[in-house]
Amino acid sequence: MKHKILTRISCYLNLKETWIIFFILGIIMMNYPFIHIFDTPRLIFGIPALFLYLFMGWMISIYVIYLFVKAIDLADEDKGERS
């Protein structure tokens, strides 16, 4: 299932452009104003909001990087098969 999603992603979207989108997104989401949203002492699941946001966000971003790495692998395989 993941494989299919990945194949679809790498088919429909140009890898480089998607990368740029995510990179800029990363910068934005790690800074103001997103930080501001979570800048409260409220607790979510008993954990401070900012803390949770940063760590969860971070984890998700690592996973996104992981997906990208897999997509690059796929693209390289395709290139290798074609050439």
Binding site: M30, D39, F45
Partner: protein, 1080 residues
Amino acid sequence: MLSIQLVAGISLLYIALLFMVAYYADKKQEQGHSIISNPYIYSLSIAVYATSWTFYGSVGRAATTGLDFLLVYLGSSLTAFTWWFLLRKIVRISKENNITSIADFISSRYGKSQWLGAIITVIAMLGIMPYIALQLKAISTTFAIITGNRGIHLILKEGVSLAPPHPGFLAAIFLTIFSIVFGARHLVSSERHEGLVAAIAVESIVKLVAFLTVGIFVTYYLFSGFEDIFSQLSAKDRILYEHLTTLGTPGNISYMSWFSMFFLSMGAIMLLPRQFHILVIENSNEEHIKDAMWRFPAYIFLINIFVVPIAFGGVLISGSCRDADYFVLTLPLSKGHHWLALLAFLGGFSAAAGMVIVESVAISTMFLNHLVMPIIVKLTPRAWFPILLINLKRFGIFLVIFLGYIYYRIVGETYMLSNMGLISFAAAAQFGPALLGGLYWHRGNKSGAVTGLIFGFLIWFYTLLVPSFVKSGWWQSGLLENGPFGIEFLKPTELFGLTGFDIWSNSIFWSMFFNIGAYLACSIILPQDEVEKEQIGKFIDIFEIKKEEESWETKRFSKPVTIMQFVNLMAKFIGENQAHIAIAEYLGDGEIDERGGVSEFELPRLKRFTEKTLAGSLGAAASGAIVESFLSDLGSKMEPVYDIFSTVRAELSESREALSVRLRASGLMNRTIDLSIIMKDLLDLLRNEFKFDLAIIRLKQNNSLLTTVSYSGAEIPAILEREIVPDINTCIGDAYLSNKPRFINNTQHITKMESKELLERERIRSFAHIPIAREGEPPLGILSVFSRSIIGLFTQPFIDLLSSLAGQLAQAVQIDTEMSAKERERQQKERALLENARVAKEMEIARQIQLSLLPAVPPELARVKFAARCVSATQVGGDYYDFFRRGDDLVDIIIADVSGHSVGAAFIMVEARSFLRAKVHSTGSAGKMLATLNELLYEDLTKSELFITMFYVKYNAERQLLSYANAGHNRPFFYRPRDGHCSELDAEGLILGVKREVIFEEKSIQMQRGDMLLLYTDGIIEARNESGDFFGSDRLISIIGKAYNKEPEQVVETILMEVTNFTGSQVAEDDISLVVMKVL
């Protein structure tokens, strides 16, 4: 509290363990199996980013200012996302160019600038001071904590002890030793230290495990999990809690500070010298980058999970934020878990040691290559250079660490760990614009980079480093409050009146502003030089560089250099062994001619290879300088190639101009078949296109000399009229004998003495001899071109073009030769045919004449009948018979045969006949007749080497008396019916023409009625049939015997018929003549 010996012992043991790992990895690498070449190790080694700042400082920051400690890692995590494009490009470039450090990389991109390398090295050395200081501080402080704050007493002798040294000092000493051991045992030509990388990977695991252990301990053992800690703190000290879990006072300031730190960490992960070293230089495989992209962030994530719990837990347990930096250690210690504390200490120690070792090795490499080498290069290389170099590197390591120590002494107590680290981050960030611009902006140039770096560095120094000195009290000054000389506008922390920024944002903003501004401005305004442009291609377009190495050289050597000279140069710096290995790899199966030199076109490539090899040990800038000085010592400069097509740089394939020349040449060669026109046109074309002063075509003549057949240009008799004997001592002879183009680009350096004098006299500066030959065939001649004004004219593509033109010329010459040969053949055949026809005609005429001389009808006399016939063979014959009537009753009969079948023979016979006719009435007997005839004909017969056989008969019809004489002729047959058999008439006599005076015997015989006489020539009896048998006289005799009573005419017919039947289809070789006489 643990004992000093225990702690010190464990620490040293740990280092020893790391060293063994390193040693093992190095050994394996030497054997060829790299154990570190896998993505896990690579990712772990990058985690050297996590130093004691991560281990201790994060906790400290989390407990004092809150969540902004995380920024250092968030930024680096995002940067990791760019690695597949950015880092991979950097790695590719660095491998291609044998880059040794970040200073090498940047200076190499900007035209191998030594100044740039030096500036970057200085910035690195000063900028890293705080960072090293923080490691030393961490080690010494935690050591003191774990050992109960006891000082270290050095006991030399009983009772004598030195004052305890500052703890950081010992740490510095030990770290220096460790760094040298790990990274400066010997000069490596590639600057890769596999052992070091392995040790760092182990160290990363140790610190992660240690931190996680402490984290788990605090979170789940001392407390009941995350929520528990948060709720406890929230309950205990709400204000602090809020302060720590949010960003403090709302407003842009915090966000600005947040962003600044974020930005700094984005840069630091790659720009710190140790990071660049591990990421780029130590990278063994580009594929690893892919995995590191997510593994490294994952590591950083893991190591940061428990920072906040530990921080908050520490606050809760210790009751304050004091010494929060060291909560990781103090918490287990205070709870009595000594082994855990020891583990924590080890983790922190490991983190600090790893950082210091890698950083100092990386920076000392830069120190050696960019500060020291430029000085050393000015000196002549000596044998002890390798030893000097390695010791200078060790000195560099010492210098870096002790600069850090000094900073620690000055500033150490004032700042928290993380703040010291940030100062270094800000310094490293100055490399960013130059690096990124160098990678992606074609116009980024050296002046821009230099000015940008200088400005950025100065601002950094002024806004961060100086304040740290002031704040620590080392430099008493009102600088921070009032600005320099009281100018508030220039206060370091609020530069140019920018208030409201924290110290980091202030510094970063202004340093980046001036850095980037100067970089952009100077890059746009000022031009780039040649070397830079070359490097730009190598850096920015590295992924577009095709595999073909053939590119048109833009430079050539003014004086040839041999391979051995290059090898010797390399050996001076990297040792003989390495030099020989390197050159062997380079040569592979390349061409070396008999003299150990390489072709002139190979030299620039060889020079670049030498530079690259040396760069591995000394850095690109230094190696470039070394090779340049070496060459200039030899007297050989890089001269620009004469850009004959003005497109040398443009394409790898042939330029349009070259193609048009080829086209025109083909055109004129096909327009006509006149070779002399072709040659002249071709030479004129060459001269007009390429501005030669003289162009000559020489072809090999039949005497093996090469002579001028066509020329265009200046009349230089000395050259034109030379007839060249192909000889290896002359350039032209060499070209001819070896069937390869020979050229001299600068006649000043020619070695063949013979040619040199001639060329100097005629002021020729460069020339080339191109063999005129078709593929795979020996040369037919030489095309020579001379220039009096241009040197460096002949490049490989140009020689190729001339060779191909010469090849076409060879084709034209060949065709011309073949055509002439065919023409000659045809003419010969024609002549032969004409000749044959003429001869045949002559022969025919002669035959006609000869036949017409024979008597048409035999004479009529009383009581005797004659018949005569001559059947001529295919060629003109020599048979003759005649009747001379000398009266009513007297007749002379002659039969003769001339030797040979030729017109000459026929004419002799005519001459004889004329003589006979003239003499027949005056001379008397047959014998006398023959004698006279012999004498008359003797001269002519001797001259023409012919002979005549003749039989002369005189017949008196009244008295029926026959007298005869014989000159060597066939004896006629005489048949008397009464006798019934044939007899021969014979008389003594030589063939006519043998002797001048001959006496001929004369005989007589009385004829009776019915007698028959047959005179014949040897054509009859020598007639052959198919089986080669002769007709022979017997057959003739038998025919006579049968036909004697017939009329003479019929006898002749019968004989001839018999002969014809006998010979069958065989062609008659000799004339057949018959005279038959019958007495009635």
